[in-house]
Structures are given as structure tokens and as C-alpha cells.
């Protein structure tokens, strides 16, 4: 019998490293329990309760700060990098919950399960972003995915929702299997799954000759590529986004993408340099194809949700540009862009949720006719978010794209930058199309009447708009933060 040693300082350190996650899980369970005891007209409390938990977790993230805490024998590390992505994910979650205050009622998601699933998914995201062991990354991925599969199909009486859930689930499991196979091959090649050890082994091309390791990295990349929806692993995206309740779509597009990119950036910054001559071209091709396919497919769409889904694919391609560049600046730009992207995308979905009357048909672009002048604030907000998505100054989207493409130019990927800028130019067309419908198309019949957002919802929209604008005009602080967090990763 081997006694398990108990080292209280290590346990404390471990608990400290996962304190935000612990808060989230506790909140999730509390919400589930509270749901049992609350009367139907008291359910609105659940949302605020969840929000309080998320904000507490966010506060805890900042209490922990960017100091490095290695927890649980190196399974998870709380550091500046984790802090950055925790901020992104938790703010996205908080925004979504704020919007849920005015939305759940009519969407039928005013339920303890809904909120606890969101919270558990967020927990998974934090774990994935902070994981320093392939196992942790995998478990984080699953913990974030399983609730999302369910959330996509939450309005299960709607055929599109449940169909989207099925597709996302089957492909998600399929994609996760690839990632797992990759991890197994990496493990076979190196005998470890701990990222720091892998870095030690692969640095300076130590593993570049091992086809086992290369194949493992390739399959790992496939898994990540699926989650961040890179071509040709992107096909689930439009379907799942369209089918899901819009609030969940907003959450997925911002938070899931950020978490998956967090792990991808970690792996890319730490492990890809060791195999860069092999994997560099792969990333290059993926970035270009993803941008192009995403943008081109969005051109002829009439469903606004699908447009934004394809746009989210294209944006994954832009962010990949930063990873192709592969240096500090590139990753920093990717981080910054993910933050901006979270806010502008949630904002855009938030406005659309108010305008659309119902899921599915409600998101037809024709419903936007005449909105712009009749509801100037909504119109202006949506225009702002779309302008930012299109990468036009003075919005955060522009700064992000500027950094991404200039990182590419700096590292000699001129053609990548050219293709990226061309793509960005093409993407204007479909963002603009939405604006044109809002402002320049006369409505056939009545202009739809958007829902009046309650206070929390309006607050979320204003916060998104403010962040998008502030990051466009004074991005310095956040850029520095992104830089610091990438540096803390490289330490």
C-alpha cells in the first residue's frame, strides 16, 4: 500500500490555480439547486445569480493576477496567458448572461439547466485555456463541448435546433477523436503529455525528424482546427450557428472560439517552433483557405445568422495569420483580435436578437429593411459592430486586423498579407449588405418592431459598443496586456 502524501501547501496552490473555475462550478450547482426551489415567476433570479458567479470568477482572476501558479503537478497553470483568456471568456459569458436577462423569457431558456450548462461550459473553457497538459486540454475541450452540444439543441422542439445539435455533436465527437489520436501519437513519440516537457524535447528541432511526433502534431492541429472552424473542418459552423438559439450562437462564436484558440496558441507558440519548417506551410494554407472560403460563402447568404457564421469562419482565418507569423507580435495580435472579436460579435448578435421576431425565418436579411432610420440607436449599434467586423477604423476590428497583417508582413509573409487584405476587402460586401438593407431598402409592409431591451441587455450592448470603440482608439493598454500574456507563456 503506497500512502498518498498530503502536502497542504501544494493543495492550496492547486486550489488557488483553479479558484475561478471552482467558483463557476459552485455557481452552476447552486443555480441547479435554486432552480428546484424557485417558483416560475422567480426564475429570473437564476440569470442574475449566474452572472454574479461569473463576475466573482472574473474578480478572482484579477485577484490571482498574472503571477504564475502551477497547480496539480503541472496539469494546469494560472499565468498571464490564462488571465488574458479568462478575461475574454468570462466577459463573453457575462455579456451573454446580461443579454439573457431580456431574452430567456421569450426564448424559453429561463431554466436552471440552461444557466448551469453555460457556467459549466465556461469552466471547461477556462480549463482549456489554462491547461498545460494535453490531458487537461482534452478534458477542458470536452467539458466545454458537451454543454454546448446540449445548448445548441436546447429549444428541442425546433427542428433546426436539434438538427444543429446533432451535427455539431457528431462532428464534435469525430473531431475530438482526431485530436485524441494525435495526443496518443505525441505521447507515443515522447512518452509524456506535459507541455513543458514536450517543449523541452522538441526545442531546436529535437523531434522534427520523428514522423510519429509530426503525425501527432498534425492530428492535434486537426482537432483544434475543428473547434476554431478552419477550412476544411468548418462545415459544422454555419449549421450549428443557425440552428442554435441566437444567444448560444453568440456565446459559441465568441467564447468557444477564444478558448480553442487559447489552447491552439499555447501549442503553436510552444511546440510548433520545433517543427516549424514542416507545419508552417500547413498553417499558411489553412489560413488562406479559411479566409477565402468563409468570405466567399458569406456573399450570397440571406440568413443573417449564417452570414455571421461564415464571417466567423473567415475571422478564424484572419487570426490564423497571426499564428502563421508565429512570433510575439503575431500571437499578440491574435490575442487582441480574439478579445475584440468577442465583443463585436456578441454585440452584433445581440442587436439581431432584438430585431428578429423568432428563430429561423426571423433572421432573414429582408427583415432588416428600414430598421436603420426607424430605430436609429439599434441601427447605429449594428452598423458599428459590422464596421468593426469589416475592419474599418476607428474600431477595434481595424486595429486587430492591422496588427495581424502587419505581423505577417514583418515575418516576410507578404502574400499572406495581400490575400488577407484582399479577403478583408471582399468581406466588406456582405457586411455592407446588411447595412444597406437596414438603411437603404424600403420595407415591404410594416417595419418589424424590435423588442425593447431591458436594462441589463442594453447595458451589455453599450458595453460591447464601448469596448469596440475604445479598443479602436486607445488600444495600447490591451495590446500591452496581450504582449505580457504571450511573454508569460514563453517564459
Amino acid at each position: 500500500m503506497i500512502a498518498i502524501p498530503f502536502d497542504s501547501s501544494q493543495v492550496m496552490q492547486g486550489i488557488a490555480s483553479i479558484a475561478p473555475e471552482a467558483i463557476l462550478v459552485c455557481t452552476a450547482i447552486t443555480v441547479l439547486m435554486a432552480d428546484l426551489f424557485l417558483a416560475e415567476d422567480g426564475k429570473w433570479l437564476l440569470c442574475w445569480l449566474s452572472l454574479a458567479g461569473v463576475l466573482a470568477a472574473l474578480g478572482e482572476v484579477y485577484l490571482l493576477g498574472s503571477s504564475r501558479i502551477v497547480g496539480f503537478s503541472g496539469m494546469i497553470t494560472s499565468d498571464g496567458f490564462g488571465m488574458f483568456f479568462s478575461t475574454v471568456v468570462l466577459s463573453a459569458c457575462a455579456l451573454v448572461l446580461l443579454m439573457a436577462t431580456g431574452w430567456s423569457e421569450r426564448a424559453g431558456t429561463q431554466k436552471g439547466e440552461f444557466y448551469s450548462l453555460i457556467l459549466m461550459s465556461t469552466t471547461g473553457m477556462l480549463i482549456m485555456a489554462k491547461g498545460t497538459d494535453l490531458m487537461t486540454i482534452f478534458l477542458g475541450l470536452e467539458t466545454l463541448s458537451i454543454p454546448i452540444y446540449v445548448l445548441v439543441g436546447f429549444q428541442r422542439s425546433r427542428m433546426t435546433a436539434i438538427e444543429g445539435a446533432l451535427k455539431y455533436f457528431l462532428l464534435g465527437a469525430f473531431g475530438a477523436a482526431f485530436m485524441l489520436y494525435g495526443m496518443a501519437l505525441i505521447y507515443a513519440a515522447t512518452g509524456t503529455t506535459k507541455i513543458p516537457v514536450l517543449v523541452y524535447m522538441s526545442v531546436g528541432g529535437g523531434m522534427a525528424g520523428s514522423s510519429l511526433f509530426l503525425a501527432g502534431m498534425g492530428l492535434l492541429l486537426v482537432g483544434f482546427a475543428f473547434k476554431v472552424s478552419l477550412f476544411p473542418f468548418h462545415m459544422w459552423t454555419p449549421d450549428a450557428y443557425e440552428g442554435a438559439p441566437t444567444l448560444v450562437t453568440a456565446f459559441m462564436s465568441a467564447a468557444v472560439k477564444a478558448a480553442a484558440f487559447a489552447a491552439l496558441v499555447r501549442v503553436a507558440m510552444l511546440l510548433f517552433p520545433g517543427v516549424s519548417p514542416a507545419i508552417g506551410p500547413v498553417l499558411w494554407v489553412l489560413a488562406v483557405l479559411t479566409m477565402t472560403v468563409g468570405n466567399i460563402s458569406a456573399l450570397g447568404q440571406n440568413n443573417v445568422k449564417r452570414i455571421l457564421a461564415y464571417s466567423s469562419i473567415a475571422h478564424a482565418g484572419y487570426i490564423m495569420v497571426g499564428l502563421v507569423a508565429g512570433d510575439l507580435l503575431g500571437s499578440q495580435a491574435a490575442l487582441f483580435y480574439l478579445l475584440v472579436y468577442a465583443f463585436m460579435n456578441i454585440g452584433a448578435f445581440g442587436v439581431l436578437m432584438l430585431i428578429s421576431q423568432k428563430e429561423d425565418d426571423g433572421y432573414d436579411i429582408h427583415n432588416l429593411r428600414g430598421i436603420g432610420f426607424k430605430y436609429p440607436v439599434l441601427g447605429a449599434l449594428l452598423t458599428l459592430f459590422l464596421v468593426s467586423l469589416a475592419g474599418i477604423p476607428p474600431t477595434g476590428g481595424f486595429i486587430g486586423k492591422f496588427y495581424l497583417f502587419s505581423a505577417a508582413v514583418k515575418n516576410g509573409y507578404i502574400w499572406l498579407a495581400i490575400l488577407g487584405v484582399l479577403n478583408s476587402a471582399a468581406s466588406i460586401y456582405y457586411y455592407l449588405r446588411i447595412v444597406v438593407y437596414m438603411y437603404f431598402m424600403t420595407p415591404e409592409g410594416e417595419v418589424v418592431t424590435p423588442h425593447t431591451p431591458p436594462f441589463g441587455y442594453a447595458l451589455a450592448l453599450c458595453a460591447c459598443a464601448a469596448v469596440v470603440l475604445v479598443l479602436g482608439m486607445i488600444p495600447g493598454a490591451v495590446l500591452t496586456m496581450a504582449e505580457q500574456s504571450v511573454l508569460s507563456l514563453l517564459m
Partner: protein, 162 residues
Amino acid sequence: MEPILFTLFGAIAVGGALLVVTRKNPMSAALSLIMSLFAVAALFVLRQAHFLAAIQVIVYAGAVVVLFIFVIMLINVPENRLPIEKPTVYRLLGVVAAGLLMIEGGLASRNFSAPATAVGEVGSVEAVGHALFTDYLFAFEVTSVLLLAAVVGATVLAKKKI
């Protein structure tokens, strides 16, 4: 002894897997899946992973596939309403692609070699338990969240009235 047993159980596992993907009736597929899973459990024993072999039988073959069978019987699609599946070029391409992946995986795996010193008492209940509650405690805890999410999710989607 190991090569012979490996070949035997490996063949059963592959055969069972092939049956899973070729059977028209999901029930036969599920039973073939059990066969394959049992064979894999035997392989685990060959690699001295006794604990995992037990778990494989109890959790995988026992619980998961039973769940499958339960659902198959619950929704009980009549034989004549099962999807009609014919060999098409697309399917052939799928097989070819999967075959290519297999060849690639095989080529990559070919030069896998283990350090000669390795002695494995890592698969025993005690060793696994020790690792699970020391180095991998966190992973173990995360699975609890994962399972909770799965329970809540499954209820939300499958119960009659929410």
C-alpha cells in the same frame, strides 16, 4: 505467447469493428461493438493494464453499449424504415480516405520503440489509483464536472417535459 494472443484478440477487435460499420441493423452493430470492446479489454490485460481492462468491460461494454441497446429498443425503428445504404462512389472515397489515414498512422507508428528498461506495473489497480489521486487528481476532478454536465444535458434533451 503475447504475439499469438495479440493476433487473436486484435483480429477479433478488428472483425468486430468491421461488423459495427457494416451491419444494417443497429442491434447487431451494438453486439459487434461489445465483441470488439471485449477483445480490446483482453489486449489491455496483455499489456498488464488490469484495472483498465476491468473498467473497459464494466463501463464500456457494460454501461455504454447497454445504453445504446436501450436507446435502440426505445426508438425501435422498424426494419423496413432503416436507412437504405448502397455502395456508392462517395462511400468508396470515404473508405479510401480512411485507408490512407490508416496507412499514414501505420507508417508513423512503424518506428515506435519503447525504452528497453520499461517495466510495467503501471496498469494495476493500485498504480492507477495512486496516479489518479496524486498527479492526475485534477483530471479526475474535471471529469466530475464533465459528467455532471452530461447528466444535466441528457436530461434536458431527453426527458418528456422540461
